[in-house]
């Protein structure tokens, strides 16, 4: 029995969090949400995600700090896709050596295609 592909959504805006959760859940993914980087670090060991969707600007712990700490841990690391409203989304992604990026506003198809691309090997 293989478990469903698991996505960790780190996003401080509740509506976006709910949207991504709903879209991915409906498409058969298992979704774990965290409203900031600190909370995400707490749940990530238990969750063992196959992909992380990461917002950059968050209170308590932002995307940069989260990425730094996550990469510092010894475990094999899941790919990170940056989800941002910033104009220079690609730059943001490059800053933390992310595997991809998704600029807001995004469509459902776009989100699903991106997640599919980064999780196909699983």
């Amino acid at each position: 029995v293989t478990r469903a592909t698991r996505i960790l959504v780190v996003e401080d805006d509740e509506s976006i969090r709910e949207l991504i959760d709903l879209v991915l859940s409906s498409a058969g993914y298992e979704v774990v949400t965290a409203e900031n980087g600190a909370f995400a670090l707490q749940v990530i060991d238990g969750a063992r995600p196959d992909l992380i969707l990461l917002d950059m600007r968050m209170t308590v712990m932002d995307g940069w700090e989260f990425a730094r700490r996550y990469r510092a841990s010894p475990e094999p690391h899941a790919p990170i896709v940056v989800v941002t409203a910033a104009r220079d989304a690609a730059e943001r992604a490059a800053e933390i050596h992310a595997n991809g990026f998704l600029g807001k506003p995004f469509g459902v198809d776009e989100l699903l295609a991106l997640v599919g691309n980064h999780t196909r090997r699983v």
Binding site: L22, M58, A85, P105, V108
Partner: protein
């Protein structure tokens, strides 16, 4: 005897020079003696002419040096002197028996073997002109017939001499005129007044053959003669101021005609200092008259020597003075023209400077660069050091730019630097110039100019070298926007009214340039703010637009794929759509508010409202948006105020919203309403949240300022900005209080706007 005679003969030339005997006269005189010798068949003849009380030898005929041993005789002395004194002929039959017993004559006669002597007077009517003398080596040579013959001849000779003298005088006069003409030509070439006066003084000494000359100019203001050039007197003469009637010069000035004195020591109007410090004896003075106006006086003196000036000397001086005054007038005009030219040149330089300044100031619209330009351009033309002060929006005076010259003392430069570190006292020169709009010109020897700068008094004492300052206000569009201070250290510069007017001209241009740069900066900031606004707005809209787009696409997708939407998707999707719509709508409303505020179009729709009910209602409504926070509203039962209820709801919602957002751990939020005075209501919203970092508290009411900028929750940074504008439109105020250990309380003070209404309109309503 021979030695005596040789010495006397050597003087002949000098004597002729002094007697001014010209060639025509000399020839006449020689002819007379020669003719007389032949006429009486004698061995020699001599001729003396009267000058004062002396007889001067003027011609002789006979053996070399034989006739007339002495150059001059007094009237009555020796044989010729007797003839002149008695006006009668005299015969000496034998030299050994001659009545005067004159040893010189006897020695001479013996040497040459003269034995007989005859002398007759030369008479011009009754006046004795001279004596004609005959010599013979024969004893008893002359008899009465010789006397008659010689008297007749002497009569003719006198007429001839008279004629020759007239001719000589005329000739001499021409010679003098020629001399004056020559020196006048020299005068005309000198246009510098001081040098000209010096030249005049020197030429008079040469013309009259004397050593002491003084040239005075008349000073109208003090009504005195001022010595301007002199020879033969010490420097002390320069200190004298001669009043009319005082000394020869003053007397000339009073009478406007020439004055001559033979002995200054006996003159009643003698100037005491001149009398005491000079050896002046004979003095002549002539006025310098130009078109009848007194311009000055020239005096010439003979010192040490007992000798009068001749009438010719006086005439010569008068003639010279007439020419000299024209040269003086010419030099004065030249000098005045030079001043006028210098003034025109200075005006041209000022205009060029101002033109250069305008061009330089127009070259940049950058505010700070313009301030620097204004300071720098003033050095060194206007000042050795310059400081530009600006009146800030908060009413403080600050030094915005300074410039110092290459030669500026280090302590002044340092003091100027220090003055940039803090505000300048409003009681200073700078403060006063800004307040009154009037410039100040300070001679620093009287008032310490550095009072403009609030620095320690110890520092000021060291800047004693600053000698003068000008402080001019910078005024643009009718208002003082700052001031310009110009400093001049050392002796090099004293500021005068002309400097002040140039400084004001400069300040006018500087103020305009600074004002332009300021407006440009404001316009730039406005454009920047608008761009920032659009950028922030676009960014903020992305989040709700994402949810709207996402949820609607999700619903469509499910509908297409499954023909129906799962309820577990439908409910949250619809809730998400509603929230996203509300968020978009709120953002758009805020943007419109800001736009209205910027354009001054936000208008209140005030009505009498029960604030207590409004506050309670909002608190209740806001409580539904959170379950982590407890909203507690404390209000009086009723509090009527004339306000815009919708706008005030916006303010209160924003404050409560902030309190909720910045208390992420939940907790109590206390909303209170009270009357602080009969006409003032106070509304407070207090949370126990994360607070606001001290360094950010200053700016929380600024547009787009986000106290927590890394935080989505902070939104566009417009909430507090709009709230404050709304409160202020109501005539109220809003300010925050920050609690130790976190928590923020916002206080809103609002006038109720109702205090007078019940008494005025109470009865009928």
């Amino acid at each position: 005897v021979r030695a005596v005679m040789d010495a006397l003969a050597g003087d002949v030339m000098a004597l002729e020079e002094r007697s001014r005997i010209g060639p025509r006269l000399r020839e006449t005189l020689s002819r007379i003696t020669e003719e007389a010798t032949h006429l009486l068949n004698a061995e020699g003849a001599g001729l003396r002419l009267v000058e004062g009380d002396e007889l001067i030898r003027v011609a002789a005929y006979g053996p070399e040096g034989a006739v007339m041993a002495r150059e001059r005789l007094r009237v009555g002395e020796s044989l010729s002197g007797r003839v002149a004194a008695t006006k009668l002929p005299l015969i000496v039959a034998d030299t050994d028996d001659e009545p005067s017993q004159d040893p010189v004559y006897r020695a001479m006669a013996r040497t040459h073997g003269f034995r007989s002597w005859l002398g007759v007077p030369l008479l011009d009517h009754e006046r004795v002109m001279g004596v004609l003398v005959m010599q013979s080596q024969s004893e008893q040579r002359f008899g009465p017939s010789d006397v008659r013959l010689l008297e007749a001849f002497a009569g003719q000779a006198a007429i001839a001499i008279e004629n020759a003298q007239l001719f000589e005088r005329e000739h001499e006069r021409r010679r003098q005129l020629e001399a004056v003409r020559e020196v006048t030509a020299l005068l005309a070439s000198e246009t510098d007044l001081a040098a000209l006066l010096e030249l005049i003084s020197r030429l008079v000494t040469e013309l009259l053959g004397i050593e002491s000359v003084a040239v005075y100019l008349w000073d109208e203001a003090s009504a005195t003669l001022v010595p301007r050039a002199w020879h033969g007197f010490g420097d002390w003469l320069g200190d004298l101021r001669i009043r009319p009637g005082e000394g020869v010069a003053g007397t000339v000035a009073q009478r406007l005609t020439g004055v001559s004195v033979d002995d200054y020591r006996t003159v009643p109007f003698a100037q005491p200092t001149v009398l005491e410090r000079s050896e002046a004896r004979a003095v002549i003075g002539e006025p310098l008259l130009y078109e009848g106006q007194l311009r000055g006086v020239i005096t010439a003196s003979i010192q040490h020597e007992e000798r009068p000036f001749s009438e010719q000397d006086r005439q010569l001086l008068a003639l010279f003075a007439a020419h000299a005054v024209i040269a003086i007038e010419h030099a004065r005009l030249h000098e005045a023209r030079g001043w006028a030219l210098a003034e025109a040149e200075a005006a041209r330089r000022r205009a060029a400077f101002l033109a250069e300044v305008s061009a330089a100031l127009a070259s940049s619209l950058d505010y700070d660069a313009t301030l620097q330009h204004v300071a720098r351009l003033a050095v060194p033309t206007l000042a050795d050091a310059c400081a530009v002060f600006e009146l800030t929006a908060s009413g403080e005076i600050r030094c915005a730019a300074t410039a110092v010259g290459a030669a500026t003392r280090a302590d002044l430069a340092e003091a100027l630097d220090r003055c940039r570190s803090g505000p300048v006292s409003p009681r200073s020169d700078v403060g006063s110039a800004i307040r009154t709009g009037r410039p100040a010109l300070t001679d620093v020897t009287q008032a310490p100019c550095f009072q403009v700068i609030d620095v320690d008094a110890d520092d000021l004492e060291d800047i004693g070298e600053v000698r003068a300052s000008i402080v001019v206000p910078l005024r643009a569009r009718g208002e003082s926007t700052g001031a310009l201070a110009l400093y001049s250290p050392g002796e090099a510069r004293r500021y005068g009214p002309e400097d002040l007017s140039l400084a004001e001209e400069y300040a006018g241009r500087a103020a305009n340039a600074i004002d332009n740069a300021r407006l440009y900066r404001e316009a730039e900031r406005a454009v920047q703010a608008r761009n920032e606004f659009l950028s922030v707005a676009a960014h903020e809209l992305k989040t709700p637009v994402t949810t709207l787009l996402g949820f609607s696409q999700l619903l469509q997708r499910q509908l297409l794929q499954a023909g129906a939407v799962d309820e577990r998707v439908l409910v949250p999707a619809l809730r998400g759509l509603e929230r996203g719509s509300k968020r978009v709508s709120r953002l758009v409303a805020q943007m419109l508010d800001v736009s209205r505020l910027d354009g001054g179009h936000l208008v209140l729709d005030c009505q009498v409202t029960d604030l207590a009910a409004l506050v309670q209602g909002i608190a209740t409504a806001m409580q539904t948006t959170t379950d982590r926070h407890t909203l507690l509203a404390r209000t009086p039962k009723r509090l009527q105020a004339l306000i815009d209820p919708l706008r005030l709801e916006q303010v209160l919602t924003n404050l409560i919203d902030n309190a909720i957002k910045f208390s992420p751990d939940g907790g109590q939020i206390l909303v209170e309403l009270s009357l602080t005075s009969p006409r003032m209501a106070r509304l407070t919203v207090a949370d126990r949240g994360i607070g606001i970092p001290p360094e950010k508290r200053q700016r929380i009411f600024e547009r787009f300022y986000q106290g927590h900028e890394d935080d989505h929750a902070s939104g566009m940074g417009l909430g507090l900005y709009i709230s404050r504008q709304i409160v202020e439109l109501h005539g109220g105020s809003i300010h925050p209080e920050f609690m130790n250990g976190g928590g923020t309380r916002f206080l809103v003070d609002l006038p109720t706007g109702l205090a007078d209404r019940p008494t005025r309109r109470g009865g009928k309503g």
